[in-house]
């Protein structure tokens, strides 16, 4: 009966006959729970570590991707500007060519008149010889 009284007063004896406030069963369960919890926390910590490294990795990847992207954009722009540069160069060369062409045309006209003079003079010489 004493047990029940104790039980009523929420006092218990454990196996070693020590007085306990908590029911030994519950106490055991609590301990179990505690251990389980610890295990759980450990696992979670580990998980976090793993996830952390993953995130880091992904971050690195992202950075690398970003870099590559910038590079690609730069390259593309460069390409575009080179095309423009070429165009400008072409334009400049074209202008120089036009200039040379004009000079050539001038020389051509001069050459033609000189040819005409040569012909005139030859004719004159022939005539002169003939008349003599």
């Amino acid at each position: 009966m004493a047990k029940d009284i104790l039980g009523d007063a929420n006092l218990h004896f454990d196996e070693l006959n020590k007085l306990r406030i908590l029911d030994p069963e519950v106490a055991q369960q609590t301990t179990e729970l505690k251990e389980e919890c610890k295990a759980f926390v450990d696992k979670i910590a580990e998980f976090q570590k793993i996830v952390g490294s993953l995130i880091e990795l992904v971050d690195q990847l992202a950075k690398a991707a970003e870099n590559e992207k910038m590079k690609a954009i730069g390259a593309r722009n460069l390409l575009k500007s080179i095309a423009k540069q070429r165009e400008a160069q072409q334009q400049q060369l074209q202008a120089l060519i036009t200039e040379k062409k004009m000079q050539l045309e001038r020389y051509r006209v001069e050459y033609e008149t000189l040819c005409k003079i040569e012909a005139d003079q030859n004719e004159f010489i022939d005539q002169f010889i003939f008349q003599k």
Binding site: A88, Q92, E99, E105, R106, Y107, V109, E110, T113, F124
Partner: protein, 778 residues
């Protein structure tokens, strides 16, 4: 000709360069948006910072104070005006001290220019105002005001007019109030830059429509360029007005004054905002948009004469090429070559300090003498000597390097003389005055004194171009000139007291040139190329002139061709597009000239018979009459079918005395006064009276008769006969008066005439006439 450009690797300025200006031929100042003023020394290739302007001054335009002030020459410019975007202009000394800052415009001051004398400054601004300032920066007047910004301004050659932009228009406004303003639409876009040359009086304009144009001072378009890829941002005349430079984005162009382009460069400069020519006209500097200052000098100029071809290969080196044997000589000079001229077997080269005279026979030993002043602006050559013009005066040197003379006239301005306004022959120098365009000053070469009575030759309208003939006697020196109306006149340079005759021989003449070896003149008349084989014809027999011409269609030469030279029997013409055209003319007239100058009349006649050309005969006729060789003249006139003239010549031959023959020869060429004077001097009064009677010059005949108290009845008799023939009545009071007391008796008159003639004959026999000047063969 082309430009050799040089650009530093790194720009010296951090921002765009807005303006540049030369102090001497080797020193340049540049201003930039980074507020620095830099000095560039080309001799040492050093660039130093002169001053850093306050941060709120953004320079826009720079102009050095002119060197010549009141005839006194300063060795170099001492200060300059700098306009800036804050509405001020600053007078800054050479060492960079800001002497004065003047609040000038509302908004930026876009340009500032000193006039040629340095007595006034004009500034223009974004507020559309044009303001004139004194030398010290005091406001004199606001010349004009308009609603749009004025981007550029220039002074007229006489500093009495101002040219400025107004949007797409150009405006010339005289400084005098109420004077006529000239305004015209010049471009399809806004005009950015303009320039007005004082030597050739031509205007340049450049605009956002990507074109540059050349105008004359009346606003007539002479040249318009093809559109470029970018707006033309700068344009500038060379000081001598022969060339100009054009700047645009990545573009620098060198052009001839007629507009066509000598050379194009495509340097990496960005836009060239300002171009400045060095004082000697051999270099240009450009203010570049990317902070650079580009320098360029002119190389590969060419000179040709007969079989020699000379090229300026480098600044100080010339290459002489003899085309006949392909021999090449290199001529090295100590300094930069500024001007050169090759003609009459001599090459004259002026460098910044010395003058070199080479003979084409020997290229190794030039004659060298020092120049008084550096920059020679013009070299002209004649057969015996040459002429140098620099800022200080006109100097004539012999090819031995001896100074012959240095002609001067009041108000002379040598900086604006060019080949069109100065002409040199072996004995005479002619200079067209700029102050009065109607006047030509004539000088004797040997003494440097004005010719004859010292009075200059004055024409009734403005003269544009003059040329002296090169050969023949000093007494027969002729000058041909073109006036504003494009009429070609010829006149004798020597005058003997009496009014000299200025005779018009052509109209619509653009350009002319005398031959170098004989007095043949060629010119471009409207659309025809004309050669006057013997221009002197006008003084001998005017009717003959059209027969002594050679004409050729010149429409193939396009608009505004220029004759460059007329050497031997080859004429070189430059077309408006820059191409050279060579023309051949017949060699015979030159040979004829040679025979005649040697009085080889038989040879001349033989030549004409050989050539069988009317023109040649006409020339010979005129030459013979001019030299009073009537036998040849008779043959020549007979050959061109002028029977009336042949008859007259025959009648001259029958005249009894030398004097009357001379007089009739003069009459033949229309010199009535001279003929009469000659007869009167010889005491042949009857002849003189008869001459006037034959010309129906009754009053003069009667006057002579009365004065010398003989043959009054003869005059009256002929007069009566004349009136009867035409069925008229005497109305002349003098004749009525003398007729009263005189009876006309024809027998008596005839007897008297007979007597006169026999008397003349006797006299001629008594004094055996020296018939050198008049060869009359019977």
């Amino acid at each position: 000709m082309r430009l050799k450009t040089s650009l530093l690797k790194e720009p010296k300025h951090k921002e765009l360069v807005s303006c540049v200006g030369w102090t001497t031929a080797d020193e340049l100042y540049s201003c930039s948006d980074d507020h620095h003023i830099m000095k560039w020394n080309l001799l040492t290739s050093e660039t130093t910072q002169v001053v850093k302007l306050p941060d709120d001054i953004y320079p826009l335009d720079l102009h050095w104070f002119p060197k010549t002030v009141g005839g006194k020459k300063q060795s170099q410019a001492e200060s300059f005006v700098l306009t800036s975007s804050d509405g001020k202009f600053h007078l800054i000394s050479k060492i960079g001290r800001v002497e004065k800052s003047v609040e000038a415009h509302c908004g930026a001051v876009l340009a500032g220019r000193w006039n040629y004398e340095g007595t006034a400054l004009v500034t223009v601004g974004e507020d559309g105002q044009i303001k004139i300032w004194s030398k010290s920066g005091m406001l004199r007047s606001t010349l004009a005001q308009q609603g749009t910004p004025v981007y550029s301004v220039a002074w007229g050659p006489d500093s009495e007019k101002i040219l400025y932009t107004s949007g797409k228009q150009l405006i010339i406004k005289p400084l005098q109030p109420n004077a006529k303003v000239l305004q015209w639409k010049a471009h399809d876009g806004i005009i950015l830059k303009l320039d007005w040359n004082s030597v050739n009086d031509l205007i340049l304009s450049a605009g956002e429509d990507c074109k540059y144009k050349v105008w004359d001072s009346y606003g007539r378009l002479l040249y318009s360029s093809q559109p470029h890829d970018y707006p033309i941002t700068s344009i500038a005349w060379a000081p001598d007005g022969e060339l100009f430079a054009v700047g645009s984005f990545h573009t620098l162009r060198l052009c001839d004054k007629t507009g066509w382009s000598y050379a194009l460069e495509k340097p990496s400069t960005g836009s060239i905002f300002n171009i400045a020519w060095s004082v000697d006209g051999t270099q240009i500097a450009g203010a570049c948009g990317n902070g650079h200052v580009i320098f360029a000098h002119i190389v590969e100029q060419r000179w040709e004469w007969k079989n020699f071809e000379i090229t300026l290969t480098k600044r100080r080196t010339m290459e002489v090429r003899n085309v006949v044997n392909d021999a090449v000589d290199l001529l090295e000079f100590r300094d930069r070559v500024i001007k050169a001229s090759l003609n009459y077997g001599h090459l004259v080269v002026s460098t910044s300090l010395q003058c070199y005279v080479f003979s084409t026979k020997n290229w190794n030993t030039p004659l060298i003498f020092d120049l008084k002043e550096g920059t020679v602006s013009l070299i002209l050559q004649a057969e015996r000597h040459f002429l140098l013009i620099d800022g200080g005066g006109i100097y004539l040197y012999s090819y031995e390097g001896r100074l012959i003379s240095s002609p001067k006239f009041p108000g002379m301005r040598t900086d604006i003389l060019n080949a069109q306004t100065v002409s040199l022959s072996n004995d005479t120098l002619a200079i067209k005055d700029k102050a009065d365009e109607k006047v030509i000053y004539l000088f004797e070469v040997l003494s440097g004194k004005p010719l004859g009575d010292g009075k200059p030759l004055t024409h009734k309208t403005d003269i544009t171009e003059i040329a002296l003939d090169q050969k023949g006697l000093t007494n027969e020196r002729k000058i041909a000139f073109i006036d504003k109306n494009r009429d070609l006149y010829i006149t004798s340079v020597k005058r003997f007291g009496k009014e000299q005759k200025v005779i018009k021989i052509g109209t619509m003449v653009h350009t002319l040139a005398w031959n170098d070896t004989s007095n043949i003149l060629c010119g471009l008349q409207d659309t025809r190329f004309t050669v006057w084989y013997y221009p002197n014809t006008v003084y001998v027999d005017k009717d003959l002139l059209p027969k002594t011409l050679y004409e050729k269609d010149a429409s193939e030469f396009s608009k505004n061709p220029q004759i460059l030279c007329f050497m031997g029997n080859q004429v070189t013409i430059r077309r408006a597009d820059g191409s050279l055209i060579h023309l051949n003319i017949s060699p015979y007239p030159a040979i004829l000239h040679e025979y005649v100058s040697g009085s080889k009349w038989e040879d001349a006649v033989r030549l004409c018979r050989f050539v069988k050309d009317q023109t040649m005969w006409a020339c010979l006729a005129a030459m013979a009459v001019s030299n009073k060789d009537m036998t040849t003249a008779e043959i020549a006139y007979a050959s061109i079918g002028d029977i009336d003239k042949v008859q007259y010549i025959n009648s001259i031959k029958e005249l009894p005395s030398k004097e009357s023959r001379m007089a009739h020869i003069l009459l033949f060429s229309g010199n009535i006064q001279d003929a009469e004077m000659l007869l009167l001097q010889a005491g042949l009064f009857y002849r003189a009276i008869q001459v006037n009677i034959n010309l129906y010059n009754w009053d003069r005949a009667l006057e002579l008769a009365v004065k010398h108290k003989t043959h009054v009845d003869t005059v009256l008799g002929y007069r009566q006969k004349f009136l009867e023939d035409f069925g008229k009545k005497e109305t002349n009071n003098r004749f009525l008066q003398y007729a009263e007391g005189l009876e006309v008796d024809w027998d008596k008159i005839k007897a008297k005439i007979e007597m006169e003639i026999s008397k003349e004959r006797e006299r001629a026999a008594a004094t055996p006439a020296v018939r050198t000047s008049v060869t009359v063969q019977r």
